[in-house]
């Protein structure tokens, strides 16, 4: 028999970025709120403290801050002809765990989507006609526009403490910024950070070739900063320990630096760690949720937490898993195309170039996760999809993020992999290498989806979630387009050696090497209940007191890192709950 806790106004599942945002915004309404976090508590000191945090083996290689697959994982297959097997050693993506979630160990790359990306189906239809949409692609419009979200992007950027330079201020193009970005109502809260030599070298070449380089926006502080909650950052020292690490000096945008201590002061907010939500409980008529049942790891028992409002703020994969386990939304069937939960899982299509210069010294240990110069000349709104034969785009960035010796040792492909030859190659090339990355969009497809695994179960006896995912020709064609353009830039930059790393047409998904933790979709937003799980306010269709935040809302993935859109949507949801829902709880659409 489950223990029962006193009823709360709101229960929040997961205390990462969006759980913290919703907690803060809703606590200002005086609601009694509890957040449930499956992992442990963690803060700048002592968990991220210097010098313990700067341990590449413990955190970079052994993934000290990442979810342990033995505690929770999923099964993966590339298509219906394969048997999905459990992901036993995370590689391709690295879900977070504990207070702050993946927001504690990200790189700080914070972008807004382009306006066209949020209305992509219309953009394609209006410019080229729907006949260019490939068979099997689930191309959609977000049910909310860039202009509607703009105040919430702005709000998130000011809470999150983003450094950067506007390229489009209220329609006016500002030199030095991204000329292809959507309209901003005001500039970034902090000026852009200085960039390293590799980035300047790339930017000079790009500018000479007629492109439009700008400093990449960054969730890394360029100055001392106080955000609207009174939370603070100190300027970054370019130590090069961002992704996979917590920041030891309050310089990286994270729930720890931007929200949590302010949230802890709210008398009507509390949180419990080691509280792993097992399912959302539904009222007998199925039209509302009554709360959630979680596993209390300390007590070793199930607990029912009744609540009037349920916010699913877990990572995308686990939000979808909870929905599938709780019967929220009809499970998606890729054969019939019916159902919504688990539909439109998408990812990211990336590539890179590595340039070797015998006589250049790059000091690679100077850097941070979102260092560098970018160009958006091959972004979604700059490409003629009809002419190029794909739907998609990418932004490029060059800027070293770290010089960590185990994982950041790029060598020419023909170098020995061990022994004296390897040592010689390291001696020859360490510090003489730079790279350029292409970070590309990924569409949603009929076959790429999430459902419950028929075989494997987790430690609570629940079916694991199963991912069915493979690369698709459209996105690979986009990637090959980027490869060709990047080869031109590399040739212009005249390195002594260079190599390009872009997936070939026909490439199949390999879960082993790290690619990106930008898993999206599965509970997508939609104009009507037949097409998605949630409405434009991230409110579940047919269960009005359940809201779901995060990248699970993405109709298809954008060409950018998802955090900016995730944060903007979270504030959009918080605003809708505060201004529309609380006074009259009901379906908002």
């Amino acid at each position: 028999m489950a223990r029962q806790e006193p009823r709360k106004d709101v229960v929040i599942v997961g205390l990462g970025w969006t759980g913290s945002i919703l907690g803060m915004e809703l606590s200002q309404e005086g609601l009694d709120i509890v957040a449930l976090e499956r992992g442990a508590d963690q803060d700048t000191v002592p968990e991220f403290k210097y010098p313990d945090m700067l341990d590449e083996l413990r955190y970079g290689v052994r993934l000290g801050l990442v979810l342990k697959p033995r505690n929770q994982t999923l099964t993966i297959r590339r298509g219906p002809d394969e048997v999905a097997l459990p992901f036993r050693s995370f590689g391709s993506f690295l879900p977070g765990n504990g207070v702050g979630g993946a927001g504690a160990h990200w790189n700080g790359l914070n972008w807004r989507p382009q306006p066209e990306e949020l209305k992509l189906r219309s953009h394609v239809r209006d410019n080229w006609g729907e006949q260019i949409i490939p068979e099997g692609m689930l191309l959609g419009d977000y049910p909310v526009s860039y202009d509607e979200l703009e105040p919430f992007f702005d709000r998130f950027e000011h809470v999150a403490g983003i450094s950067g330079q506007a390229g489009n201020l209220n329609g006016q193009i500002i030199p030095g910024g991204n000329p292809f970005e959507g309209r901003r109502s005001r500039d970034y809260p902090m000026p852009a950070l200085p960039v390293t030599y590799d980035a300047r070298k790339f930017a000079e070449a790009a500018a000479a070739m007629g492109y439009h380089p700008f400093k990449a926006p960054s969730g890394i502080a360029s100055t001392a900063y106080v955000n609207p909650y009174g939370m603070q950052m100190g300027p970054c020292t370019f130590c090069g320990f961002c992704e996979r690490y917590g920041c030891f000096q309050y310089s990286k945008s994270a729930p720890q630096t931007m929200i949590l201590d302010a949230l802890r002061r709210q008398p009507n907010f509390s949180y419990r760690t080691g509280a792993e939500v097992l399912r959302v409980e539904k009222a007998p008529d199925g039209k509302t949720a009554t709360g959630v049942t979680y596993w209390d790891h300390a007590a070793g028992e199930e607990v029912f937490q009744p609540a009037d409002l349920v916010i699913l703020a877990a990572y995308q994969l686990f939000n979808v898993h909870l929905m599938l386990l709780s019967g929220i939304g009809q499970p998606y069937d890729p054969v019939t195309g019916e159902g919504v939960t688990g539909k439109s899982y998408a990812y990211q299509m990336n590539g890179s170039a590595t340039l070797f210069y015998r006589d250049e010294v790059f000091n690679p240990f100077v850097g941070h996760g979102s260092n560098g110069m970018s160009i958006d000349d091959f972004g979604m709104n700059q490409i003629d999809f009809g002419r190029e034969g794909f739907i998609g785009g990418a932004y490029w960035r060059s800027g070293q993020t770290n010089g960590q010796p185990i994982r950041s040792m790029p060598l020419p492909r023909d170098s020995a992999e061990w022994g004296a030859g390897w040592k010689k190659a390291v001696g020859d090339w360490y510090g003489h290498v730079m790279s350029i990355g292409s970070h590309g969009s990924h569409m949603a497809y009929r076959g790429n989806h999430l459902d419950l695994d028929p075989t494997y179960r987790d430690r609570f006896g629940r079916p694991l979630m199963r991912m069915t995912f493979n690369w698709q020709e459209n996105d690979l064609r986009m990637n090959q387009f980027m490869r060709a353009r990047m080869a031109e830039v590399v040739a212009f930059m005249k390195p002594d050696l260079s190599q390009l790393s872009f997936k070939d047409l026909g490439a199949r998904y390999d879960i082993r090497p790290y690619q990106t933790t930008h898993n999206t979709g599965g509970h997508i937003m939609s104009e009507n209940p037949a097409e998605g799980v949630v409405n434009r306010y991230s409110q579940v269709w047919g269960m009005h007191n359940v809201f779901a935040t995060g990248a699970g809302n993405f109709v298809q993935n954008t060409q950018y890192n998802p955090t900016g859109l995730v944060g903007g949507l979270a504030y959009h949801t918080a605003d809708a709950i505060r201004r529309q829902y609380l006074s009259n709880p009901r379906p908002l659409v």
């Binding site: 700048t44 000191v45 002592p46 403290k49 210097y50 009174g230 950052m233 300027p235 000096q249």
Partner: protein, 461 residues
């Protein structure tokens, strides 16, 4: 030690001389300074506000203890004094106190049973509270604080300090200033600041030096060496007057920010001042903090420019501050980092520079400036060494909720390394203070062993 013996001798001698007088002269209690109507009632929250301004909890609430139940050990030159229970419990607390008895404790240091309080209770300062505030405070403790009946350790000082009657003579000398508050500026803000500093804030208790009889050398603006610097529990309480003092170097908003948040564009509040911010100053109104800052700025004749608004702006962006002229040489050394760089600057570069920078200027409101830092250069060397060993913790406040925690380096640096590092800090960027010895570090390491470990966490459900 010699000073200590002189105090002992003087106190003993004074005691003998006044003994006869004490036999013949009855204790005289200071009457109320204003006659309030019988039906006078404090405004809602006034009593609690005076309690905050007076920082009663700092002494009368023990660590992890119940509010105002006393029992907090207070180290004094005479031995350990335990604070009393001031909850309205009739037996353990002050529940049986009349208003006159309550006022006598604040004004004259006389306990309900007629015994003398040790002057760890700052009645030299509380003596200047207005009658309205005395009444409000009495009302608060009698009616709003829950009674606590738990017994507390009795203060048991060695002879002669256990002879409380000796304090009577001390009081004759220490309480020569009139009770109540007299405004002098004819300016509402400055007079309010003066009142808060002199009376409830009892700033002089730490920031004024003590004379040979351990009396505050200056309890009001016009007396003695008022706020010219003192010490408490091994921490320097830096001067608040004089051209080099913080109120003269900082502008009024920054001074107010320091009081309200424990951090400003120059420094952070550590140790005892951190507690003052946490328990007292952050709970005052922004206007009152401005008033305190304005008074401190204007007291020695500084120009008082009041800020147009006390509302915090939505976000604050403050670029890195470059090294001043005095700091350029150190900055150049750290940036060039020659192979033969001494161990002190080398340790700084490896452990401290990421936050405090080669310039030693830190970052506004988050990493304190080390160049020109009072604590770094203080003759009281315990705080600097302790912070290197054990870290520092600026509390969460309403305006700046983030707990700023500097980690300690107890496990990473040995005594000699800490000494080298501290010595470097005391001479870098134009700082001008003497070296720290390895032996001194060893002493502080031993004394502060129990401070090591994780900082206090806020309550987590």
């Amino acid at each position: 030690m010699r000073t200590f013996l002189r105090i002992v001798a003087l106190l003993a001698l004074t005691g003998v001389i006044v003994l006869l007088a004490m036999i013949f002269v009855p204790v005289r209690l200071t009457p109320a300074v204003a006659a309030l109507p019988a039906d006078w009632r404090p405004a809602e929250g006034q009593g609690e506000y005076v309690m905050r301004a007076g920082d009663c909890a700092a002494c009368h609430t023990a660590e992890d203890g119940r509010p105002f139940a006393g029992g907090r050990p207070i180290e004094s030159p005479m031995g350990t004094i335990y604070s009393t229970n001031i909850t309205p419990d009739p037996d353990q607390g002050i529940g049986r106190y009349t208003l006159d008895q309550f006022r006598a404790a604040l004004y004259d240091g006389i306990r309900g049973d007629g015994a003398h309080l040790y002057p760890a209770m700052p009645y030299e300062n509380y003596r200047m509270l207005t009658e309205e505030d005395v009444r409000a405070l009495y009302d608060y403790f009698m009616n709003e604080v829950p009674p606590v009946a738990d017994p507390i350790p009795a203060t048991d000082l060695a002879f002669p300090f256990n002879q409380r009657w000796g304090i009577r003579a001390w009081n004759w000398l220490a309480l020569r200033h009139p009770a109540g508050f007299t405004p002098v500026y004819g300016d509402e803000v400055l007079d309010r600041g003066k009142y808060l500093v002199e009376a409830p804030g009892h700033c002089g208790a730490c920031h004024s030096p003590r004379n040979l009889l351990m009396m505050q050398d200056g309890v009001t603006l016009d007396g003695g060496r008022f706020l010219q610097g003192g010490a408490i529990a091994g921490w320097e309480a830096p001067p608040l007057s004089g051209p080099a003092s913080a109120p003269q170097r900082w502008d009024i908003p920054d001074m107010a920010r320091y009081l309200g948040t424990g951090r400003n564009n120059h420094s952070t509040a550590n140790g005892e001042m951190g507690l003052v911010v946490e328990e007292s100053m952050q709970h005052l109104t922004p206007d009152d903090r401005i008033a305190i800052a304005a008074f401190l700025k204007g007291m020695p004749g500084g120009e008082v420019v009041l800020p147009a608004t006390t509302e915090p702006s939505e976000t604050v962006v403050i670029p890195h501050q470059p090294a001043g002229d005095a700091g350029k040489e150190t900055e150049a050394l750290l940036v060039s980092a020659p192979a033969d760089m001494a161990i002190g600057p080398r340790l700084y570069a490896d452990n401290c520079m990421a936050c405090h920078f080669a310039s030693g200027t830190g970052a506004a409101q988050i990493f304190p400036k080390l160049a020109g830092n009072t604590l770094v250069q203080s003759d009281e060397t315990m705080p600097l060494i302790s912070i290197i060993l054990n870290g520092a913790h600026v509390p969460s406040t309403a305006q700046r909720p983030m707990q700023l925690v500097m980690q300690g380096y107890r496990d990473r640096l040995n005594d000699q390394e800490v000494a080298e590092l501290a010595t470097f800090l005391r001479s870098a960027w134009g700082n001008d203070a003497g070296p720290i010895t390895t032996e001194r570090v060893a002493e502080v390491r031993a004394e502060t062993a129990e401070d090591a470990g994780d900082p206090d966490d806020t309550a987590r459900d």
